[in-house]
Symmetry: C2
Subunit: 268 residues, 2 copies
């Protein structure tokens, strides 16, 4: 049976709010996701809430009912509350009817099955959680397996990244590793490594024949890939850049390459 909470100073509400903080997420092993659609998507992909907070006014919705049942069946806690507390929990003026805390999934490289998808994104020192969320959505849309985050990337389980991924965080694999760890793992099996780059021994991206599993690597928003990382690549792909202003957004460059590879793996 759901627990009723009506006080914003309730310790559980405070504890869940503290999951907005990265250190607390790490200690608790939990992260927050919002929204009935996103939480249902999570459930369909095997992610069961440890805590599910729902507005009493939305309790009758069949998707809410299903989430409550799944949470309680897995020994999680379902909490019935009101709009004000949902607002406090999310910091949003129009809070979603459901907020859930999910166990942080295993992000170790060792758990990655490289043959589970024909394409993977690899991002080095990616800083913007919005870019990461956009990249996860593009992986979902193109069937890429997920994103391998190298070195000092943003936290994929921050509220910003989870929001920007719009559910794709739950359908895709996220891995965290250092560059050297990833290169050693990659070369211990099949797979090509192609980097997005503007300089050096690049070829036009349309001239490359992708081979599955293809690992498509992009660099930091400002600096791009470091030379030591482009040196590891089997090919460096260059997108036409006709302009005079700045380079492309990193999530845009990744998407153009993923759709190009998909077009080769699955022709019209």
């Amino acid at each position: 049976m759901p627990v009723d909470i009506t006080s914003p100073s309730n310790p559980l509400i405070k504890r869940l709010r503290s999951l907005n903080d990265k250190k607390t997420r790490k200690v608790e092993g939990l992260f927050l996701a919002e929204g009935l659609r996103v939480c249902t998507e999570a459930l369909h992909n095997g992610h069961v809430p440890a805590y599910l907070v729902f507005g009493a006014d939305g309790e009758a919705h069949p998707l809410t009912t299903a989430l409550i049942a799944a949470t309680e069946a897995a020994q999680g806690t379902a909490v019935r509350t009101d709009r004000d507390i949902l607002h406090k929990l999310t910091g949003k003026d129009n809070p979603q009817s459901v907020v859930a805390a999910f166990p942080i999934p295993d992000t170790r490289l060792a758990g990655l099955d490289r043959f589970a998808a024909a394409m993977w994104l690899v991002a080095e020192n990616l800083r913007d959680p919005g870019n990461l969320g956009t990249m996860l959505r593009t992986c979902d849309a193109t069937g890429a397996g997920g994103v391998i985050l190298l070195d000092q990337c943003c936290d994929p389980f921050s509220v910003e990244a989870v929001r920007a991924s719009m559910g794709a965080l739950f359908t895709r694999k996220v891995v965290q590793a250092t560059g050297p760890e990833f290169f050693a793992w990659l070369r211990d099996g099949a797979g090509e490594l192609v980097g997005a780059a503007l300089e050096g021994r690049t070829i036009d991206y349309r001239a490359h024949q992708f081979t599955a599993p293809s690992f498509i690597m992009v660099g930091n928003e400002q600096a791009g890939l470091p030379p030591a990382y482009t040196a590891e690549c089997d090919a460096l792909l260059r997108l036409p850049m006709k302009g005079t202003a700045d380079s492309l957004n990193v999530a845009v460059a990744a998407a153009v390459l993923l759709y190009r590879a998909l077009g080769q793996f699955e022709p019209v």
Copy 2:
């Protein structure tokens, strides 16, 4: 000669700060852009600051010198100040060494030369200034002429949009119109209208042969294009969507289509 301002309560500083507000921008006909590189890019594209505020510690930089000279030659005002005031002006902890107020360019459809580029983006009810900035960068990179904003889009001259465009706002054309105005203008001359859509009479985007000038239209982040707008299109293009989560980010979809069109107009 530059004016020296050392007080954050100086009326000119207050007035420039107020350009963070949309209504003030409209009344003043000015908008803010930050950064030596971006302001220089602006100058190279014919945008001369009405006001140029620079940190005294960066005055010796040749690009700063050039900006001061151009501003004063055009009867603008150059202001020498300090880091604290630049911080107040931008709200950033690490302010750029230069902030400038530029005249808002003409965004009327009547001023658009459709033959100035082979491709144009058209965005309907685009809400996120980050998406607009990303789209302008992609236009710059692909040589698309710019973005035609239909109906209730975000303000292209907000600080957020200008920042996200990273200078591309100054190299690309921005037009503001209603849907009916745009359709009437379009059909009064040459050009195809292709819409990004997921449903209806869509074809795989790779099956379309683009014809210049091509107007590539994308819809609102949540709702996509309304039926009345897809009905206006010569073709509706569908990107493969293999996933189960959400649709693609709108700036990503626009970029995949722009790069596809560029690939046809300019083969490898």
